[in-house]
């Protein structure tokens, strides 16, 4: 019995010092729809001494360097507003937050959207309300892609 307990104890020690080996660095952002830009396999859940070192190096794994213009190139591009690169990038990268803010009719991401679409300050409340009432049109399906979202929003507000 003692021996079994002993092995158990040693296993615990090893477990607690090594379960950070598979650190959550598998952060992927593929796809063009909802749920794509939330990183998968987060690093915040595992915890151990070794993660202490991970967290303070704030490690990146190469891809994230000078993202002055971030790529939406792997996705279908919007038809109507192609020239507004910043708008496209923003919607692409913030689709989930936008969905939430549009559904609530307020929030920082819809304010940013209004600014990017140059909606006059006095028309913004109406703009948010309009988006909220048409939520089901903007996000008609689970696999809706960002380009379509941009197109619908532009159509709705023109």
């Amino acid at each position: 019995m003692k021996r079994i307990l002993g092995i158990f104890a040693l296993t615990l020690i090893f477990a607690s010092t090594s379960f950070a080996a598979d650190m959550g660095l598998a952060r992927t952002n593929t796809g063009c729809g909802l749920g794509t830009m939330l990183f998968e396999g987060g690093s915040a859940n595992n915890s151990s001494l070794l993660q202490a070192f991970q967290a303070t190096t704030n490690g990146t794994s190469g891809a994230q360097t000078f993202g002055i213009s971030s790529g939406t190139s792997e996705c279908t591009q919007p038809e109507k507003f192609v020239q507004n690169e910043r708008l496209n990038e923003f919607v692409y990268a913030n689709l989930d937050t936008l969905a939430k803010d549009i559904a609530q009719g307020r929030g920082e991401s819809v304010r940013t959207l209004a600014e990017l679409m140059q909606v006059a300050p006095e028309k913004r409340e109406a703009f948010y309300r309009n988006l909220q009432t048409h939520f089901a049109e903007i996000f008609p399906r689970e696999n809706v892609e960002y380009a379509q979202v941009v197109d619908t929003i532009v159509t709705l507000s023109s």
């Binding site: 950070a20 952060r27 749920g35 939330l38 990183f39 969905a99």
Partner: protein, 632 residues
């Protein structure tokens, strides 16, 4: 108005050369002469630009990438590098990246100003890529951003800092963030990772990304709060910082976990904007991110921060504004027991319906980020909740903003020394202890993560006047404790890790220095009005010649209650029972109980009172200790 501000750089780029090559040599010599006269190689700004520091072996740049230097000796020789930089003024070419003036714009911006360079006597060059990047960044002002620790990960408790160049957009999300981080190898395991991190074997690079990416990374993914401190720099100073960041593009410096880390290298960029503030000189052995914020504040460069809550805090906030019945409704939506549309039909005000659905959608997102749903599952749940939510008008669901906790820079200082008097059985003692970093469970929580402890290298030396004994009482190499309360929406694991040396008493009045390794894991609950109650399963291995054989391994349980009595008074009541299972089993058996009081007097002072009892075979003793703590 601001757009009209002309920088010397622009002239440098736009003015055509009116003179032939034959004339450049004398002008070059003239410039070198005036550089020597002005003692530019010793100029502090030149040293900031090139990240020069005086070390054991003379002056050396902390940048390790040879690409950063124009002279082959540039890394160790500021004067040779300056010479090469002057030569570089006369270089032109086809490829923008190969033209020094385009590649190192901050360097040349300064050099041209200091030497009053006549740009018409230089070859004509243009840097379209550089200009495009600057226009895109469009920096008008800058903010220092502090990412606080994660609530259940003292690992990240040291925090993180990065910089944001605020653009002419109203929305800060559209500004660009500048981050310095180690580029790690995904294949490395934890131990290799730690070793490489400590000994500078990973290269550190600057990156620049839209701020919304950082908000997603820290606020949504890692559940860390962000504090945004506006820097009171002029636009011109900010533009210089932009130029410096751009010249550091693709340049590496060896990343050292303790000192030359994310926050330290950022200080060089800040010094470019405010050279009078000698920020990098303040950190010699280690750089703790929050300490850099304090340093920047001490230099008068920032004022009150803006708080950006993490998603987890937001969820707690919404939950705290709802009654039990509504929380249960939100839970039933999350458990798929009730369709979101059913919430709309419930006989409650619209405001509450809105909050219930908001609580659900935020939690769905958080769970997805934690990998609890597949993408398909997430999309389905997320959209059905949001569809229901979109039918409630915005005006019907005004939520108070998430209240900001105490800002991190208001917390106690990280280093601590303590003077203590105490008594063990009949022997009185004096004790001196100290730690370079960072936070003890009993230290005041303001600015720190409640229920967390992370101490590095805390050492205590004890003197018993009656017997004349002096002992290294404890030397905790690392002592981490993370107690995170579980509730309806969060189920974190609590854990501890402690290793180091301690003097342990043995039967017969003798003692011995013991090496110990003590991890543990368990759970904690915030039980009102008791406090934070925790239970941990622990194991411990002790090694010393006094054991027979040379070690003892034990397993056991510990439990305790941590309670915030008043704003500045904390109490911890804890007990622990270990049983020896391997090695010197008899000595592995130990019971201990302790009652600790911590009273914080100011950011720099606190008093602790500890009373405890320890019982092991053939040995038992009571101990009391009163200590005065100084933080600095």
């Amino acid at each position: 108005m601001l757009r009209k501000l002309a920088y010397p750089l622009l002239f440098l780029l736009l003015f055509p050369s009116l003179h032939g090559a034959a004339e450049t040599t004398p002008y070059r010599d003239e410039l070198k002469e005036s550089a020597t006269k002005l003692r530019l190689p010793d100029d502090r700004y030149w040293h900031v630009l090139l990240h020069y520091k005086r070390g054991l072996f003379g002056t050396e740049s902390l940048v390790d990438d040879p690409k950063f230097f124009l002279s082959p000796d540039g890394r160790n020789d500021p004067s040779a590098e300056l010479d090469a930089a002057i030569d570089g003024l006369f270089a032109d070419g086809e490829k923008e990246q190969a033209i020094p003036r385009c590649r190192f714009p901050a360097r040349y911006d300064w050099l041209v100003r200091r030497l009053s360079v006549d740009l018409t006597r230089l070859p004509e060059v243009s840097c379209p890529i550089l200009e495009e990047q600057r226009n895109r960044i469009d920096a008008k002002s800058a903010s220092l951003i502090f990412a606080s620790g994660h609530m259940n990960s003292p690992a990240s408790m040291f925090g993180h800092t990065f910089l944001r160049f605020d653009s002419s957009y109203e929305s800060p999300l559209l500004s660009y963030a500048v981050n310095y981080a180690a580029r790690i190898d995904r294949k490395d395991n934890g131990l290799v990772y730690a070793a490489k991190g400590i000994f500078g074997l990973y290269p550190g690079y600057f990156s620049i990304l839209p701020y919304y990416e950082k908000v997603k990374e820290y606020g949504n993914m890692d559940q860390r709060d962000l504090w945004e401190y506006r820097l009171n720099f002029t636009e011109e100073e900010v533009q210089r910082m932009v130029l410096h960041v751009l010249e550091l593009q693709g340049i590496y410096s060896d990343y050292f976990f303790f000192k030359e880390n994310c926050s330290y290298d950022l200080l060089f960029v800040l010094e470019i904007g405010a050279p009078a503030a000698k920020l990098t000189d303040r950190f010699r052995l280690f750089t703790i991110p929050i300490d850099t914020v304090k340093a920047v504040r001490a230099e008068g460069l920032i004022s009150e921060p803006v708080f950006r809550s993490s998603q987890a805090r937001k969820i707690r906030h919404i939950a705290s504004s709802l009654g039990d019945a509504d929380i249960a409704r939100a839970r039933s939506v999350l458990d798929n027991a009730v369709a979101p549309e059913k919430i709309l039909a419930a006989d409650i005000p619209d405001t509450e319906k809105g909050k219930i659905l908001d609580l659900a959608s935020e939690t769905v997102q958080l769970r997805y980020a934690k990998g609890q749903y597949t993408k398909e599952e997430y999309r389905k749940r997320f959209l059905t909740v949001l569809s229901a939510r979109s039918t409630i008008p915005a005006s019907e669901s005004v939520l108070r903003p998430v209240p900001a906790p105490e800002p991190p820079e208001s917390g106690h200082e990280s280093s601590r020394v303590a003077l203590a008097v105490g008594i063990r059985e009949e022997d009185s003692f004096l004790e001196v202890s100290g730690r370079p970093a960072y936070h003890d469970l009993l230290d005041a929580d303001a600015g720190f993560t409640p229920g967390s402890q992370i101490e590095f290298s805390r050492a205590a030396v004890r003197y018993y006047p009656d017997t004349g004994r002096i002992r290294l009482q404890e030397w905790d190499l690392v002592h981490i404790l993370s107690l995170a309360g579980r509730n309806d929406f969060f189920r974190p694991v609590s854990w501890k890790f402690r290793t180091g040396f301690a003097t342990k008493p043995f039967p017969g009045g003798s003692d011995a220095l013991v090496f110990f390794l003590n991890p543990g894991g368990g759970m904690a609950w915030d039980i009102r009005p008791l406090g934070l109650v925790y239970v941990l399963l622990e194991t411990e291995v002790d090694v010393a010649g006094r054991y027979n054989p040379d070690y003892t391994a034990g397993v056991g349980l510990s439990a305790g209650i941590l309670r915030q009595m008043t704003r500045s008074w904390k109490t911890l009541l804890a007990a622990r029972q270990m049983a020896g299972v391997l090695g010197d089993e008899n000595r592995g058996r130990e019971f201990s109980a302790i009652l600790r009081q911590g009273i914080s007097i100011s950011r720099r002072r606190a008093i602790f009172l500890d009373i405890g009892r320890t019982v092991s075979p053939g040995l038992h003793y009571n101990e009391g200790k009163f200590s005065v703590n100084f933080y600095f």
